[in-house]
Symmetry: C2
Subunit: 149 residues, 2 copies
DNA sequence: CGATTCGTAACTAATTAAGTTACATGAAAC
DNA sequence: GTTTCATGTAACTTAATTAGTTACGAATCG
Protein backbone atom coordinates (compact mmCIF):
# COMPACT_ATOMS: atom_id res chain seq x y z
CA UNK A 1 0.00 0.00 0.00
CA UNK A 2 1.44 3.31 -1.08
CA UNK A 3 1.54 6.43 1.02
CA UNK A 4 -1.61 8.57 1.09
CA UNK A 5 -3.65 5.77 -0.40
CA UNK A 6 -5.44 4.78 2.77
CA UNK A 7 -8.75 6.17 1.54
CA UNK A 8 -8.68 4.49 -1.87
CA UNK A 9 -7.34 1.23 -0.42
CA UNK A 10 -10.08 1.19 2.19
CA UNK A 11 -12.76 1.87 -0.40
CA UNK A 12 -11.31 -0.92 -2.49
CA UNK A 13 -11.63 -3.29 0.45
CA UNK A 14 -15.14 -2.13 1.32
CA UNK A 15 -16.42 -2.66 -2.22
CA UNK A 16 -15.10 -6.20 -2.11
CA UNK A 17 -16.92 -6.66 1.19
CA UNK A 18 -20.11 -5.23 -0.28
CA UNK A 19 -19.74 -7.68 -3.15
CA UNK A 20 -19.69 -10.64 -0.74
CA UNK A 21 -22.42 -9.67 1.75
CA UNK A 22 -23.08 -13.26 2.79
CA UNK A 23 -19.70 -14.12 4.25
CA UNK A 24 -16.96 -12.60 6.37
CA UNK A 25 -13.65 -11.80 4.68
CA UNK A 26 -10.47 -12.28 6.65
CA UNK A 27 -7.79 -9.62 7.06
CA UNK A 28 -5.61 -11.92 5.01
CA UNK A 29 -8.05 -11.88 2.08
CA UNK A 30 -8.56 -8.13 2.33
CA UNK A 31 -4.80 -7.61 2.46
CA UNK A 32 -4.51 -9.58 -0.76
CA UNK A 33 -6.78 -7.13 -2.59
CA UNK A 34 -4.53 -4.18 -1.80
CA UNK A 35 -1.23 -6.05 -1.72
CA UNK A 36 -0.33 -5.49 1.85
CA UNK A 37 -0.15 -7.16 5.22
CA UNK A 38 -3.12 -8.38 7.31
CA UNK A 39 -1.94 -6.35 10.26
CA UNK A 40 -1.88 -3.20 8.19
CA UNK A 41 -5.47 -3.89 7.18
CA UNK A 42 -6.61 -4.45 10.74
CA UNK A 43 -4.83 -1.31 11.88
CA UNK A 44 -6.18 0.78 9.01
CA UNK A 45 -9.83 -0.15 9.33
CA UNK A 46 -9.94 -0.38 13.12
CA UNK A 47 -11.58 3.05 13.16
CA UNK A 48 -14.31 1.88 10.79
CA UNK A 49 -15.32 -0.77 13.30
CA UNK A 50 -15.63 1.84 16.03
CA UNK A 51 -17.78 3.89 13.67
CA UNK A 52 -20.04 0.92 12.98
CA UNK A 53 -19.17 0.89 9.29
CA UNK A 54 -17.80 -2.64 9.53
CA UNK A 55 -17.98 -5.43 12.08
CA UNK A 56 -15.30 -7.96 12.87
CA UNK A 57 -15.51 -11.38 14.48
CA UNK A 58 -12.77 -13.65 15.73
CA UNK A 59 -12.12 -17.31 15.46
CA UNK A 60 -13.21 -19.90 12.97
CA UNK A 61 -15.21 -18.36 10.12
CA UNK A 62 -14.49 -14.92 11.49
CA UNK A 63 -13.40 -11.83 9.61
CA UNK A 64 -14.95 -8.60 8.40
CA UNK A 65 -18.38 -7.61 7.12
CA UNK A 66 -20.18 -4.35 6.44
CA UNK A 67 -21.97 -2.97 9.46
CA UNK A 68 -24.93 -1.73 7.42
CA UNK A 69 -26.23 -1.47 3.87
CA UNK A 70 -23.83 0.06 1.33
CA UNK A 71 -26.26 2.86 0.51
CA UNK A 72 -26.12 3.93 4.16
CA UNK A 73 -22.34 4.28 4.19
CA UNK A 74 -21.02 7.58 2.83
CA UNK A 75 -17.47 8.45 1.87
CA UNK A 76 -17.63 11.29 4.39
CA UNK A 77 -18.09 8.80 7.21
CA UNK A 78 -15.37 6.53 5.89
CA UNK A 79 -12.90 9.36 5.54
CA UNK A 80 -13.68 10.60 9.04
CA UNK A 81 -13.41 7.10 10.52
CA UNK A 82 -9.99 6.75 8.93
CA UNK A 83 -8.91 9.94 10.62
CA UNK A 84 -8.02 11.39 7.25
CA UNK A 85 -7.49 15.11 6.94
CA UNK A 86 -9.11 16.53 3.82
CA UNK A 87 -6.87 19.62 3.75
CA UNK A 88 -3.19 18.86 4.32
CA UNK A 89 -1.73 22.23 5.24
CA UNK A 90 -0.80 23.00 8.83
CA UNK A 91 -1.75 26.15 10.75
CA UNK A 92 0.13 25.40 13.94
CA UNK A 93 1.66 28.59 15.35
CA UNK A 94 5.44 28.59 15.19
CA UNK A 95 6.04 32.16 16.31
CA UNK A 96 3.52 32.77 19.09
CA UNK A 97 3.05 36.47 19.51
CA UNK A 98 3.77 37.40 15.90
CA UNK A 99 0.78 39.35 14.65
CA UNK A 100 1.60 38.54 11.04
CA UNK A 101 1.45 34.86 11.77
CA UNK A 102 -1.78 35.32 13.69
CA UNK A 103 -3.37 37.05 10.71
CA UNK A 104 -2.19 34.30 8.35
CA UNK A 105 -3.48 31.54 10.61
CA UNK A 106 -6.83 33.26 11.09
CA UNK A 107 -7.44 33.55 7.37
CA UNK A 108 -6.20 30.05 6.67
CA UNK A 109 -8.31 28.52 9.42
CA UNK A 110 -11.38 30.32 8.12
CA UNK A 111 -10.70 28.92 4.69
CA UNK A 112 -10.12 25.44 6.06
CA UNK A 113 -13.36 25.47 8.02
CA UNK A 114 -15.40 26.47 5.01
CA UNK A 115 -13.54 24.10 2.71
CA UNK A 116 -13.98 21.14 5.00
CA UNK A 117 -17.66 21.88 5.26
CA UNK A 118 -17.95 21.93 1.47
CA UNK A 119 -15.94 18.77 0.88
CA UNK A 120 -17.66 16.83 3.63
CA UNK A 121 -21.01 17.85 2.25
CA UNK A 122 -20.08 16.48 -1.14
CA UNK A 123 -18.53 13.31 0.23
CA UNK A 124 -21.65 12.64 2.28
CA UNK A 125 -23.61 12.29 -0.97
CA UNK A 126 -21.36 9.54 -2.34
CA UNK A 127 -22.09 6.12 -0.87
CA UNK A 128 -20.49 2.70 -1.06
CA UNK A 129 -23.50 1.68 -3.15
CA UNK A 130 -22.47 4.21 -5.79
CA UNK A 131 -19.05 2.60 -5.93
CA UNK A 132 -20.38 -0.92 -6.24
CA UNK A 133 -22.79 0.24 -8.96
CA UNK A 134 -19.86 1.77 -10.85
CA UNK A 135 -17.95 -1.48 -10.43
CA UNK A 136 -20.89 -3.56 -11.78
CA UNK A 137 -21.18 -1.26 -14.77
CA UNK A 138 -17.53 -1.87 -15.60
CA UNK A 139 -17.91 -5.56 -15.01
CA UNK A 140 -20.88 -5.83 -17.36
CA UNK A 141 -19.12 -3.79 -20.01
CA UNK A 142 -16.19 -6.21 -20.01
CA UNK A 143 -18.65 -9.09 -20.33
CA UNK A 144 -20.38 -7.45 -23.31
CA UNK A 145 -17.16 -6.64 -25.10
CA UNK A 146 -15.93 -10.20 -24.54
CA UNK A 147 -19.07 -11.49 -26.23
CA UNK A 148 -18.61 -9.01 -29.06
CA UNK A 149 -15.18 -10.48 -29.86
CA UNK B 1 9.58 25.15 9.84
CA UNK B 2 7.22 22.30 10.61
CA UNK B 3 5.98 19.78 8.10
CA UNK B 4 3.00 20.83 5.96
CA UNK B 5 3.44 24.42 6.94
CA UNK B 6 4.94 25.59 3.68
CA UNK B 7 1.81 27.52 2.73
CA UNK B 8 1.42 29.35 6.02
CA UNK B 9 5.16 30.00 6.31
CA UNK B 10 5.25 31.41 2.81
CA UNK B 11 2.26 33.65 3.49
CA UNK B 12 3.97 34.82 6.66
CA UNK B 13 7.03 35.77 4.65
CA UNK B 14 5.01 37.47 1.93
CA UNK B 15 3.08 39.64 4.38
CA UNK B 16 6.38 40.81 5.85
CA UNK B 17 7.52 41.63 2.32
CA UNK B 18 4.30 43.50 1.62
CA UNK B 19 4.89 45.45 4.82
CA UNK B 20 8.29 46.64 3.59
CA UNK B 21 7.58 47.45 -0.06
CA UNK B 22 10.47 49.89 -0.34
CA UNK B 23 13.34 47.55 0.31
CA UNK B 24 14.47 44.02 -0.49
CA UNK B 25 14.52 41.48 2.33
CA UNK B 26 17.28 38.89 2.36
CA UNK B 27 16.72 35.15 2.67
CA UNK B 28 18.40 35.45 6.02
CA UNK B 29 15.84 37.96 7.26
CA UNK B 30 12.94 35.99 5.84
CA UNK B 31 14.30 32.82 7.43
CA UNK B 32 14.33 34.62 10.76
CA UNK B 33 10.57 35.25 10.55
CA UNK B 34 9.77 31.57 10.23
CA UNK B 35 12.68 30.21 12.26
CA UNK B 36 14.44 28.31 9.57
CA UNK B 37 17.42 28.35 7.28
CA UNK B 38 18.02 30.83 4.41
CA UNK B 39 18.51 27.96 1.99
CA UNK B 40 15.16 26.49 2.95
CA UNK B 41 13.55 29.85 2.22
CA UNK B 42 15.20 30.16 -1.19
CA UNK B 43 14.24 26.63 -2.07
CA UNK B 44 10.67 27.06 -0.86
CA UNK B 45 9.87 30.29 -2.66
CA UNK B 46 11.86 29.58 -5.82
CA UNK B 47 8.59 28.67 -7.54
CA UNK B 48 7.07 32.02 -6.60
CA UNK B 49 9.81 33.77 -8.51
CA UNK B 50 9.09 31.73 -11.60
CA UNK B 51 5.42 32.66 -11.21
CA UNK B 52 6.28 36.37 -10.98
CA UNK B 53 4.88 36.64 -7.47
CA UNK B 54 8.24 37.73 -6.10
CA UNK B 55 11.49 38.96 -7.59
CA UNK B 56 14.97 38.33 -6.29
CA UNK B 57 18.21 40.18 -6.84
CA UNK B 58 21.76 39.26 -5.95
CA UNK B 59 24.63 41.12 -4.46
CA UNK B 60 24.79 44.16 -2.26
CA UNK B 61 21.32 45.37 -1.28
CA UNK B 62 19.82 42.34 -2.94
CA UNK B 63 17.08 40.12 -1.64
CA UNK B 64 13.40 39.54 -2.23
CA UNK B 65 10.50 41.82 -3.11
CA UNK B 66 6.92 41.34 -4.25
CA UNK B 67 6.57 41.08 -8.00
CA UNK B 68 3.32 43.04 -8.06
CA UNK B 69 0.78 44.73 -5.81
CA UNK B 70 -0.51 42.62 -2.90
CA UNK B 71 -4.10 42.91 -4.12
CA UNK B 72 -3.04 41.23 -7.36
CA UNK B 73 -1.59 38.19 -5.64
CA UNK B 74 -4.11 35.51 -4.68
CA UNK B 75 -3.64 32.56 -2.37
CA UNK B 76 -4.59 30.30 -5.28
CA UNK B 77 -1.55 31.48 -7.23
CA UNK B 78 0.71 31.17 -4.22
CA UNK B 79 -0.46 27.67 -3.44
CA UNK B 80 -0.01 26.61 -7.06
CA UNK B 81 3.44 28.19 -7.26
CA UNK B 82 4.48 26.26 -4.18
CA UNK B 83 3.42 23.06 -5.88
CA UNK B 84 1.07 22.33 -3.01
CA UNK B 85 -1.60 19.72 -3.45
CA UNK B 86 -4.94 20.85 -2.01
CA UNK B 87 -6.26 17.29 -1.62
CA UNK B 88 -3.73 14.86 -0.13
CA UNK B 89 -5.16 11.42 -1.00
CA UNK B 90 -3.57 9.34 -3.72
CA UNK B 91 -5.42 7.63 -6.57
CA UNK B 92 -2.46 5.86 -8.13
CA UNK B 93 -3.46 2.42 -9.34
CA UNK B 94 -1.85 -0.37 -7.33
CA UNK B 95 -3.69 -3.30 -8.86
CA UNK B 96 -3.92 -2.50 -12.58
CA UNK B 97 -6.71 -4.54 -14.09
CA UNK B 98 -8.82 -4.73 -10.96
CA UNK B 99 -12.24 -3.36 -11.87
CA UNK B 100 -13.04 -2.57 -8.25
CA UNK B 101 -9.98 -0.38 -8.01
CA UNK B 102 -10.85 1.26 -11.32
CA UNK B 103 -14.31 2.15 -10.05
CA UNK B 104 -12.89 3.56 -6.81
CA UNK B 105 -10.32 5.64 -8.64
CA UNK B 106 -12.85 6.96 -11.12
CA UNK B 107 -15.17 8.19 -8.37
CA UNK B 108 -12.34 9.60 -6.31
CA UNK B 109 -10.79 11.40 -9.27
CA UNK B 110 -14.14 12.93 -10.13
CA UNK B 111 -14.47 14.17 -6.60
CA UNK B 112 -10.96 15.50 -6.58
CA UNK B 113 -11.46 17.43 -9.81
CA UNK B 114 -14.60 19.12 -8.56
CA UNK B 115 -13.12 19.74 -5.11
CA UNK B 116 -9.99 21.32 -6.51
CA UNK B 117 -12.07 23.54 -8.73
CA UNK B 118 -14.10 24.70 -5.73
CA UNK B 119 -11.13 25.29 -3.44
CA UNK B 120 -9.10 27.07 -6.07
CA UNK B 121 -12.04 29.31 -6.83
CA UNK B 122 -12.28 30.31 -3.20
CA UNK B 123 -8.54 30.75 -2.76
CA UNK B 124 -8.44 32.99 -5.82
CA UNK B 125 -10.66 35.48 -3.99
CA UNK B 126 -8.28 35.84 -1.05
CA UNK B 127 -5.33 38.13 -1.75
CA UNK B 128 -2.16 39.09 0.05
CA UNK B 129 -3.79 42.49 0.58
CA UNK B 130 -6.50 40.82 2.65
CA UNK B 131 -3.83 39.28 4.84
CA UNK B 132 -1.96 42.55 5.36
CA UNK B 133 -5.25 44.28 6.15
CA UNK B 134 -6.00 41.64 8.77
CA UNK B 135 -2.51 42.10 10.18
CA UNK B 136 -2.93 45.91 10.39
CA UNK B 137 -6.25 45.46 12.16
CA UNK B 138 -4.56 43.30 14.79
CA UNK B 139 -1.68 45.73 15.06
CA UNK B 140 -3.97 48.72 15.62
CA UNK B 141 -6.00 46.79 18.20
CA UNK B 142 -2.87 46.09 20.21
CA UNK B 143 -2.03 49.80 20.04
CA UNK B 144 -5.48 50.78 21.25
CA UNK B 145 -5.47 48.32 24.12
CA UNK B 146 -2.01 49.50 25.13
CA UNK B 147 -3.33 53.05 25.35
CA UNK B 148 -6.33 51.83 27.33
CA UNK B 149 -4.05 50.40 30.01
C1' DC C 1 -8.52 -29.17 22.92
C1' DG C 2 -6.89 -27.41 18.46
C1' DA C 3 -7.35 -24.53 14.65
C1' DT C 4 -8.42 -20.07 13.31
C1' DT C 5 -8.80 -15.13 13.40
C1' DC C 6 -8.77 -10.68 15.38
C1' DG C 7 -6.35 -6.95 18.61
C1' DT C 8 -2.41 -4.78 19.65
C1' DA C 9 2.24 -3.76 21.06
C1' DA C 10 6.87 -3.38 19.62
C1' DC C 11 10.16 -3.18 16.34
C1' DT C 12 12.20 -2.42 11.43
C1' DA C 13 12.38 -0.43 6.95
C1' DA C 14 11.24 2.92 3.52
C1' DT C 15 10.01 7.40 2.24
C1' DT C 16 9.68 12.23 2.56
C1' DA C 17 10.74 16.78 3.91
C1' DA C 18 13.52 19.90 6.45
C1' DG C 19 18.07 21.35 7.79
C1' DT C 20 22.95 22.03 6.61
C1' DT C 21 27.29 22.67 4.14
C1' DA C 22 29.62 24.14 0.27
C1' DC C 23 30.57 26.66 -3.56
C1' DA C 24 29.65 28.96 -8.02
C1' DT C 25 27.42 33.16 -9.94
C1' DG C 26 26.21 37.86 -10.07
C1' DA C 27 25.84 42.73 -8.43
C1' DA C 28 27.02 46.77 -5.84
C1' DA C 29 30.44 49.56 -3.24
C1' DC C 30 34.72 51.34 -2.78
C1' DG D 1 39.16 45.43 -10.25
C1' DT D 2 38.79 43.62 -5.91
C1' DT D 3 36.07 43.03 -1.91
C1' DT D 4 31.71 42.15 0.05
C1' DC D 5 27.24 40.64 0.01
C1' DA D 6 23.47 37.96 -1.69
C1' DT D 7 21.16 34.46 -4.49
C1' DG D 8 21.10 29.59 -6.98
C1' DT D 9 21.72 25.04 -6.48
C1' DA D 10 23.70 20.56 -5.65
C1' DA D 11 24.79 17.18 -2.27
C1' DC D 12 24.51 15.43 2.00
C1' DT D 13 22.54 14.74 6.90
C1' DT D 14 18.90 14.53 10.13
C1' DA D 15 14.23 14.04 11.68
C1' DA D 16 9.57 12.61 11.22
C1' DT D 17 6.12 9.77 9.40
C1' DT D 18 4.10 5.73 7.70
C1' DA D 19 4.05 1.13 6.01
C1' DG D 20 5.61 -3.46 6.89
C1' DT D 21 6.75 -7.25 10.10
C1' DT D 22 6.99 -10.26 14.12
C1' DA D 23 5.01 -11.88 18.09
C1' DC D 24 1.66 -13.21 21.13
C1' DG D 25 -2.64 -12.86 23.86
C1' DA D 26 -7.76 -13.23 23.55
C1' DA D 27 -11.83 -14.94 21.57
C1' DT D 28 -14.56 -18.22 18.88
C1' DC D 29 -15.89 -22.37 16.53
C1' DG D 30 -15.91 -27.25 15.64
Amino acid sequence: MKRNSRLSSTLHILVHMADAPDRALTSEQLAGFIHTNPVVVRRTIAGLREAGIVTSSRGHGGGWQLGRAPDKISLAEISAALGETLLPFSTEPESPGCLVEQAVIAVLDDFRLEAERLLTERLSHITLADLTADFRRRYDLIGVSSHAV
